[in-house]
Every structure is written in structure tokens, then in C-alpha cells.
Amino acid sequence: MTDPLALETSGLTKVYGSGHTEVVALRDASMRVRRGEVVALLGPSGAGKSTFLLCVGLINPPTRGTVTIGGKLMQDGPRSLGDLRRFRREHIGFVFQKSNLIPFLSAIENVQVVGELIGRPSSVARRRANELLDALGVGKRAFNMPTQLSGGEQQRVTVARALANQPSLILADEPTAALDSVRGRQVMELFRDVAHRHGTGVIVVTHDHRALDVFDTIYEMEDGLLKPAASTAAKATPPAHDIRLS
């Protein structure tokens, strides 16, 4: 995938229910995320941020609109174009509020499993997992089970897992909610480093306004409407970094 855009959504709309129970969670949301760009998505609870991530992550089909990832149109309204699960494991990384590690796998196995799922030999997937954990500063905890890791360490392992398939897009839903401000900032900076180093597009849903300077672009969402944040409109421009696609 060499398309300069990691993600492009157009007119994304999601409606739950029908008739008098109809709820419009997402209204005509359009977004472009370049490779290596880190995007923050702000908004109050219930604004539609998570719905947007689920649609973009090919987990929930939108009612209308398109989702194009790495130049490939994957979702056209409710119609899926291709094997979404396969596309997810090969091109998308997920990080969520709770660390969401598989409880019966050790830290390294949680990362390794992604490599194996995309068809890498076990030894290669393990080596790659080791490198990622080392790079994220949790290499020494590689053989610990998730319950033996602190919240920050778990989140780092989750980030390593999200990177294991060398995705073109990482989707993070409030990844710092369970962390203190120092740890939270570290994780945000981690996303920026990853995005800039690997040319990965990153969308982070966050309530944490203290680390907004980390992001290249900031969007706000309210009542399902997506728009560039007024206060940081100047930031809503393509990143100035020299991105090398891996």
C-alpha cells in the first residue's frame, strides 16, 4: 500500500434503529488521514467518536458513506468490499481504553499472535514481537502475563501488538484513560513516534487536553458531526515531517 492517504472517509453516516427509535450516531463524517499523521478526535461522551472508530475499523458497517484505507475502498455504505477480518489483521492496529490483552497469553505472545495470524513463521513473528517490546521499553516484561503488568506496561504491549502487523492505520480509543498524566503523555508521544517513524496513520480518541500538542491534526465531534477543532485549526494541516513509508 503506497497510497499517501492512510484513511479517507466520505459522508460516513451511521443510524441505529428506525422510526421513532432512530438514533443518528454519525452524520456525514468525512476525514483524510495521511501516512505518518497523528489525529486527535475530541468530543463529549455519546458524540459518536467510538462509532466513527468502529466504522473506520471495519467492525460496524456504516449506513451510508465510504471507507477507504491505504487507497483501497473497503466499505461502501453497508456493503463490505472484500474480507474485512483479513483486512483488519493485515492493515489495521487497535488500541483501546482498557489494555485488552488476551489473558492467557504472555506479553510477547500477545504481540507474536498477530504476526502469526498474518502468516509469518512463528520464529519470525516472535523476533518481531521481541523487537517491538524492546522498542517500547517493556522487553524485560516479555514473559509476564497481562495480570503481572502495570497499566502503563499493558498499554505499551497493546501498542506493540497494534504495530505487529505493520499497519497502515492505528485506531486508538481513549488509550490513556486508565493512566496517570505522565504515563498518558508517554503513550501519546509513543503514537507520534510510531506514526512518524513507520508512516502509519493514527487516530486517537481522547478526552485528555493536556497532550494535544502531540497531535498533527485535531478534530472535534458533537452529536455525530465531525469538524476540525476551532481552537487548533492551524494544526489541521498535513504534517511537515519527511515520512518514509516502510
Partner: protein
């Protein structure tokens, strides 16, 4: 990376205990099968051991294993004279219960047709066949008698000269083999007082008739042993067993005897069928049905266990779906766990069973065929049990990992 093994390792204690429980259940299934086989085998052990081509029994009875059959000893000579019969022997069989070492001792008494049959064909594990016409016995080890041990039965004392293994009656009682004369002596043993009273009664009856008063010799005979009275029958035997010449059709010999109004004949297979459809039929069917029931219960319990284990993994399964794990990986996780549990439980059941079954009071005969069949059933159960879990896993949405 094998996810099933990783998950088992993570919940090892629970998995081990569950497998142990299922294993015990499979052991019971295995045991019920063994009891069923043992019952059938025990029922047939005597008839197969005797190996008769024809059984001649009292008219309109089903033979000595089903009901009382009484025949005169002279019938042996009549049967031996039938064309096609190579030899005929008397068969005496009955069950007794006596006191031995302060405990009840119940045994099947089998009479061997001395001198042609001394017990050489019996499954001896120690000692020797009978060497004399009287006062020796071959006992099954389940009776708890030792070689050389002496046992008083009736008025005589018998010495154990040989031991057999698994020579038991259809009721599970160990069998002791005597010469047929001794077997009859044990069967028709009467206390001395009873014999004296019977002789006095005979004398009194003779006194009351003219023949007795005019013939003093008759009165003397009436007071003597019953065997000296031609008017009284000798001790009856249970059946006559006949062996036929090679190539002789048993049906043709049966036809030859069909005109005899005092006997009924059965071939060896017919006698076995009578046994299985008669005395042990209900017990056999009951155990068979119970076994089928247990197998179904095992399947249901395994399915529920695998389903519950799957319910505990719904979040990781949703997570696996979220990161794009294909269906075969998730189904494989559940199926492999089910198969591992089934195989290990089978092994546990087998190991415990083989150590426990010999301690049972009746024989538990676990055959290789039954073991293979059960192994196949366990595999099928494991696969079926996992289907419920897989069905549940397939319904989990990946976004459930986020909530």
C-alpha cells in the same frame, strides 16, 4: 502458537479438575460396558467350557441353567447309542450356600463325568485335575479357598486340588467342580435323622399292607438304604451332554431324538441363546441401557463444560476477531480444547478403571473392542461438544472486545 494449549496452561487447575471429573464419568461408562461383558461371559463360561454339541434335558424344560431339570442316569447310555454321537456324559449343576470360616459361602456345584472328564479342560491356574472318584474338588479362586484346603459339604470332606480363574455361574458365584457322584451326594444330602425317619415311615407303610406282612424280606429292605430299593429312583442328573462326530449335523441327531417323549435337545448355540435370553437377559439389557444412558449423559456434560469454558473466553474470542483472527483459528481453539479434554479424560478413565475394576466383586471384562469403540465415541462426543461452544463463539461480535 497453539492457543488451546496456552489457554489450558492459563487455567490449568480448573482444566485438570474438569478432565478428572469427565475421566471418572468415562470410567463408569467403561465399567458398565465391562460389567455387561462380564455378565455375558460369566453366563456362557460353563457352556463354552463344556463345549457340548448337544444338550439333552428334561422334556419341555430350558435346561439346568434356567430351571430344574431331572433326568435318570441311564439316559447317558441311551444318548451314547444314537448314531453320530461320539460320547455322552452326565451333567450335574446346582447352587449351594454353606457356612465356611464363619462366613456364608455360595458356590455353583458342577459335576464332571468321571472318569472321562477329570477337569483337564478347565482353566486351571494352580494345582491339578481330579485324580480320584471321590472327595476331591477344583475350586474357583473367587471362592477364596486355597490349594489343599479341606471343605466339609454334607457328610463328606473334600480337598481342593486345583484352582481356576473366572469359572463362575451366571449369578456370579464361583464354581466348584466335583465328580458327578460327589456333586449328587452334595445335592441330595440329607441329615441322618431325616433318613432314619424316612426308613421308619417306609417300614410302617410296609407293615400296613399284606405284601409286607407276608414277605418279611420286604420289611428288611424298607428299613435299609434307598439305593437298594428297586422301586425308588436313583439320584437324578441335570442334563446329558453329547459330543458329535466331526461333520455330523447336530440337527440330524436332534431329529433322531425328537421321538423321545421324555427329553428335549438343544445344540450348543441354542443353549447359549437360552442362557442369554433367559436368566441374564434382564440384567444384561438393564446394564446395556444404563450404559447408553451414561454415554449420553457424558456427551451432555462434556458439551456443557466446553460451552462454559467458551463462555469464559468470549472476551478473548471477541478480541481475536477484532484483530482479524480467522474463523478456523477460533473454532480450532475450542475444538482442540475439547479433543484434548476428551483424550485426557479417556486416559484418566482407563488408568483408574484398570486399577479399580479388579477389586469389584463381579468380573468387569473390558475388551479391546469396547475400548476402541469407546475411544471413537469419546472423539465424536468431543467434536459434538465443541460445536455448541463454536456456535456461541461465532455469534460473538468483535466490538464486544471494546465494551
Amino acid at each position: 502458537m497453539n492457543l488451546a494449549v496456552r489457554d489450558i496452561r492459563h487455567n490449568l487447575g480448573r482444566f485438570v479438575l474438569t478432565t478428572l471429573g469427565v475421566g471418572m464419568l468415562l470410567m463408569v461408562v467403561m465399567g458398565m460396558g465391562g460389567i455387561y461383558r462380564g455378565l455375558v461371559d460369566d453366563a456362557l463360561v460353563v457352556t463354552r467350557g463344556v463345549g457340548a454339541d448337544l444338550w439333552v434335558v428334561q422334556r419341555d424344560t430350558r435346561g439346568p441353567f434356567a430351571e430344574v431339570s431331572r433326568l435318570p442316569r441311564s439316559l447317558v447310555d441311551r444318548v451314547a447309542a444314537v448314531p453320530g454321537v461320539t460320547d455322552a456324559r452326565e451333567f450335574v449343576f446346582h447352587t449351594i450356600q454353606r457356612e465356611h470360616r464363619g462366613k456364608p459361602l455360595r458356590m455353583g456345584v458342577l459335576g464332571l463325568g468321571w472318569p472321562t472328564d477329570k477337569g483337564e479342560g478347565l482353566p486351571l491356574i494352580a494345582g491339578r485335575p481330579l485324580a480320584q472318584n471321590h472327595f476331591e474338588m477344583i475350586a474357583d479362586e473367587s471362592l477364596g479357598l486355597g490349594l489343599g484346603e479341606r471343605l466339609r459339604l454334607g457328610k463328606d470332606t473334600y480337598t481342593v486340588v486345583g484352582l481356576t480363574r473366572w469359572l463362575v455361574a451366571s449369578g456370579g458365584d464361583g464354581i466348584a467342580c466335583f465328580t458327578s457322584r460327589d456333586a449328587q451326594a452334595i445335592q441330595f444330602d440329607e441329615p441322618g435323622e431325616s433318613i432314619r425317619l424316612e426308613r421308619q415311615a417306609r417300614r410302617a407303610r410296609a407293615d400296613e399292607i399284606d405284601f409286607g406282612r407276608t414277605q418279611p424280606g420286604v420289611l428288611d429292605r424298607a428299613s435299609g438304604p434307598a439305593q437298594n430299593l428297586a422301586a425308588l429312583p436313583g439320584p437324578a442328573i441335570s442334563a446329558v451332554i453329547a459330543h458329535l462326530m466331526p461333520g455330523t449335523d447336530p440337527a440330524s441327531v436332534q431329529r433322531s431324538m425328537s421321538g423321545w417323549s421324555d427329553v428335549t435337545t438343544y445344540t450348543g448355540p441354542q443353549q447359549e441363546e437360552l442362557l442369554l435370553k433367559g436368566s441374564v437377559d434382564r440384567a444384561r439389557r438393564q446394564i446395556l441401557l444404563f450404559r447408553v444412558l451414561l454415554t449420553i449423559i457424558s456427551a451432555v456434560i462434556m458439551a456443557l463444560i466446553i460451552y462454559t469454558l467458551t463462555l469464559d473466553k468470549l472476551h478473548p474470542i471477541a478480541l481475536l476477531k477484532l484483530i482479524g483472527a480467522p474463523t478456523r483459528v477460533i473454532a480450532g481453539l475450542i475444538l482442540q480444547q475439547s479433543l484434548i479434554m476428551g483424550v485426557l479424560a479417556y486416559g484418566v478413565g482407563y488408568l483408574i478403571g484398570t486399577r479399580l475394576f479388579p477389586l469389584f466383586p463381579r468380573r468387569v471384562l473390558v475388551t479391546n473392542d469396547d475400548l476402541l469403540r469407546l475411544a471413537g465415541i469419546v472423539l465424536v462426543i468431543s467434536v459434538l461438544a465443541s460445536l455448541l461452544g463454536i456456535w456461541k463463539a461465532m455469534r460473538v461480535a468483535p466490538n464486544e472486545a471494546i465494551g
